[in-house]
Symmetry: C2
Subunit: 365 residues, 2 copies
Amino acid sequence: MSASNLTVTLGDVAAAAGVSVSTASRALNGNAKACRISATTADRVREHARRLGFRPNLLARSLQSRRSGLLGVVVPDVANPFFAAIAKEVTRGAEEAGRSVLLADSGECNEREVTLVAELQARRVEGLVVCPVGVDSTHLEAANAAGTPVVVVDRGFRDGSLPTVTSDHRGGAERLIEHLLELGHRTIGIVQGRPGTLPNDDRLRAARDALAAVGVSIDDVPVAGNGFTERSGYESAARLLADRPDVTALFAFSTPNAFGALRAAAEAGRSVPNDLALVCFDDVPHGEFLRVPLTAVAQDVRRLGQTAAEVMAERLETGRPPRRRRYTVPVRFIARASSGGPLPGAEPRSRRRSSRESLAAGAPR
Amino acid sequence: MSASNLTVTLGDVAAAAGVSVSTASRALNGNAKACRISATTADRVREHARRLGFRPNLLARSLQSRRSGLLGVVVPDVANPFFAAIAKEVTRGAEEAGRSVLLADSGECNEREVTLVAELQARRVEGLVVCPVGVDSTHLEAANAAGTPVVVVDRGFRDGSLPTVTSDHRGGAERLIEHLLELGHRTIGIVQGRPGTLPNDDRLRAARDALAAVGVSIDDVPVAGNGFTERSGYESAARLLADRPDVTALFAFSTPNAFGALRAAAEAGRSVPNDLALVCFDDVPHGEFLRVPLTAVAQDVRRLGQTAAEVMAERLETGRPPRRRRYTVPVRFIARASSGGPLPGAEPRSRRRSSRESLAAGAPR
DNA sequence: CCATGTTGCTCAAACGTTTGCACAAGGCCC
DNA sequence: GGGCCTTGTGCAAACGTTTGAGCAACATGG
């Protein structure tokens, strides 16, 4: 009998209860006391609302209150577990604050991202959490300037004013290179992701710096790759291994990159880790069940999402600009089998700093 | 100069152009011709709109047109790649139809699902695509009856009227059991997911039927498990292996279940596939790189999502009830190493029907 | 018995659009 | 030169809420 009926309006409830619309509104919105609605009237209104299955129209409410209760989330690929996890945490945060999430998928296309952001603005989202494609930020800067707070996650922009949440790309890359150096590697091929994006370039720079610190010239660091995909990983690793047969280790910038490299290595007749060490940025779920468990640096995806949600929440609640411009989430180094043991004939380097290591290859947790 | 400004209203544009709001509205909405707005006026209005950075307020538009342009999507866990993929395809479909997606995460909690559906209805979504927790469907039936078309994906309900898109759970389970039977297995332990859900129960029934067809009594089919999680897989497999040392094969109902079973097997001192065969429903990405590549039945997740999107699109476009009540998406059987070779001493059964097999273990694609 | 305060409610404007209808001006026909 | 169609535009209502201001009725205090 009290099945919800979306066509019942506040007016209908008011009429049924024999009061005016305004009284009905106040009675239902809890602040009955403050608005001096008698308890009996309030009860009567509520009773009729229930009976008619009244559902307030949030569109109307939003229009009137100028608060849509909507948060826009834009990611390059929802199906990618990385972004899915971020979306999840942001959604959770938004819902805690009573907001709903409008999710959009840019498909790694900057133009689409621009369109989507405009669309979300048109829907009057109160804020935007964006994992940008990373090419251009003018639309995001514009939205931010126009009063829609923007928080950027993962891929950021070197300059500009947008608060940005990222993993510690530099620290992670440095850690992996140091690991390889300790094992005696000096000629390390880099299977990079999408050049020009902040995560990629930060990792690349950190890797080069770490190598330069032990005297490896920048020209002795072969680099290839043009995307975070398996295909790019495969092609660039194949090229790298063909051009520079002297590389003893590969550093892949993503797990798909690493899987591609793994295939390329197999086809080049180099077995991992015996003939070639492999490390990668980003961990793979169930990594311990892989034939060659991958030494990796794991990003704390949930914390990335949570941090973004928090930064956004604070901006929305206080109305202030964000405290900081950059929020860096630590990564976790996990040594597994793919990096192998020390190179024969290499004197192991001493570690410069300590760091909590994780379990070894394939150990059940 | 033409930076978008969300506070600029149609009224401002009209005033700037020296026309009435209605004229401005008609000029901007393209139907200028049909509404007999002169070309010069239309241009002038557009020019001023551009200059002022006018962005129509979609909330107002939605309210007036009674079409929110919103589609609600509810899944139990966005971070799960399976649901993320579904969300992606549905999002894509919605955007093609000019709608945006409101995404909600029920966290496998039925109560939460109920709340979320209500919330989405309050926002006047035009349709709901739901991967339900699967316990109860009254709220979904109610929404559907109240005029918000509902399409159910993955977990459905045995009765009721909601159009439902699922994988061919029965066919997949049957195929895996037949595979094991061919290899000579007769005592097959079932590591099930969440009992009571349609995918689980369909798979279970099909498995039992397939076994019964070759004379294995239902009492000789050990079953354990209470969730699609790794933990449940681990615990139930451990129990199964302890209680019934005679099982020669396990059928896990999800990849997490399978990983759990793998750990349990290792701890029980049984190596896969030599001492124990293992097959599972659901494929794992990069399955060929696993130490023990898993024989599996892969769901076509994208097609699940696409089908849901299509069914919803047709319902929304035509306004008709769905053509069918059940849409079944075929699965793909993939033989890999985890099911091992024929049992020693077993006469291999002949296949009853043919089916396209996929590549063998670990083959590069 | 009048000023004052409190209680309980209604009126009406506003949020930013869309859209049916009316209306003025001009051209055309007879 | 009056009727009529066409063209271009404006008025005002509507969508379903919220909310400030106003107004009776009644109690209170002097």
